[in-house]
Amino acid sequence: MDNNGGYKSLINIWLLLMFLTFITVWIAQFDFGALNVPIALLIASLKASVVALYFMHLKYEDGMTWIFATYPIFLLFLLIGFTVVDMFSRVIN
């Protein structure tokens, strides 16, 4: 890899993140009702993936690191998902 190529791609990734941040703020002025949170989470997850893949070099890591990086996402779904399902499916409060 030539020296400046690596730095240039980092700056390009940063520009992409800036663009996505602008989209985050811009899209918030529209009201999509119940879809507001999912849309915000979708853009945030896109940004988070870009940070993890390129700034944190996950793209170049081995399978073991991928398991360590993605397994907590599954745990988060369990934690948040089941807590929410539990709270809103109780017959007796």
């Binding site: 020296n3 980092l10 940063w14 941040t21 945030a44 940070v51 993890a52 700034f55 996402i73 948040i80």
Partner: protein, 220 residues
């Protein structure tokens, strides 16, 4: 093999794990394994630590999800009282500081020590600006009589941004120690593990804020 020798072997392997692994010839007193294994192991350990950090914030996100669904008006009102401009500025600052850390990690692998110093300084300064902005936000809220106990939205707001702020301070301390060691010429292209995993920690601070910003400031 008798029970005694098996037991001593197990105890020894726990007490002196490095003796089971072929060590490198020139022992400089810092490495327990060969450098590549140590580098990969340290990185994997950091990712595991980041996983626990994610779950720490996961509890707060679960609380957010439940109370937002229960009291949408409260969250609407609370969210609109937050300063979107200041929040956006802080987002831009944190993402920029993520870039500078990423550049520092790349620069140390090419032995460009001067560039590493500049990038780490910029990162720490960005973190400080972020903290100052947050200080103004908090004092403005306190001035209006809004405290963590005002309502559930502000409880979650202060808890989430407060714990995040704590991570910013710890990140500043970590980067400060790294910077000091860079000045002491402790790192080079053959020894940059500490800078890389310190950088991973700083990226996590950015990752958490990427979610906190829209959920608290924008989605109302």
């Amino acid at each position: 093999m008798g029970l005694y020798s098996i037991t001593t072997k197990i105890l020894k392997s726990i007490a002196y794990p490095s003796e089971l692994v072929p060590s490198i010839e020139e022992d400089d007193g810092h490495h327990h394994f060969d450098p590549v294994t140590e580098h990969e192991g340290a990185k994997l350990g950091m990712w595991l630590f980041l996983a626990t950090e994610l779950l720490l914030f996961g509890g707060l996100f679960a609380a957010y999800a439940i109370y937002r669904a229960k009291y949408p008006e409260m969250f609407m009102l609370g969210s609109s009282s937050l300063d979107v401009v200041l929040g956006s500025v802080n987002t831009v600052i944190l993402i920029f500081s993520s870039l500078t850390v990423a550049v520092a990690v790349k620069a140390i692998q090419e032995n460009r020590i001067q560039l590493v110093k500049v990038m780490l300084w910029v990162t720490i300064i960005c973190a400080a600006i972020f903290a100052v902005n947050k200080y103004f936000e908090y004092t403005y809220k306190f001035g209006k009589g809004i405290y963590p106990g005002t309502d559930i939205f502000y409880s979650i707001y202060f808890a989430a941004t407060g714990i995040h702020m704590l991570h910013v301070f710890i990140g500043m301390a970590v980067l400060g120690v790294l910077l000091r060691k860079v000045y002491q010429n402790k790192y080079s292209k053959d020894n940059f593990t500490a800078i890389e995993i310190g950088g991973l920690y700083w990226h996590l601070v950015d990752l958490i804020w990427i979610y906190l910003f829209p959920l608290l400031y924008l989605v109302g």
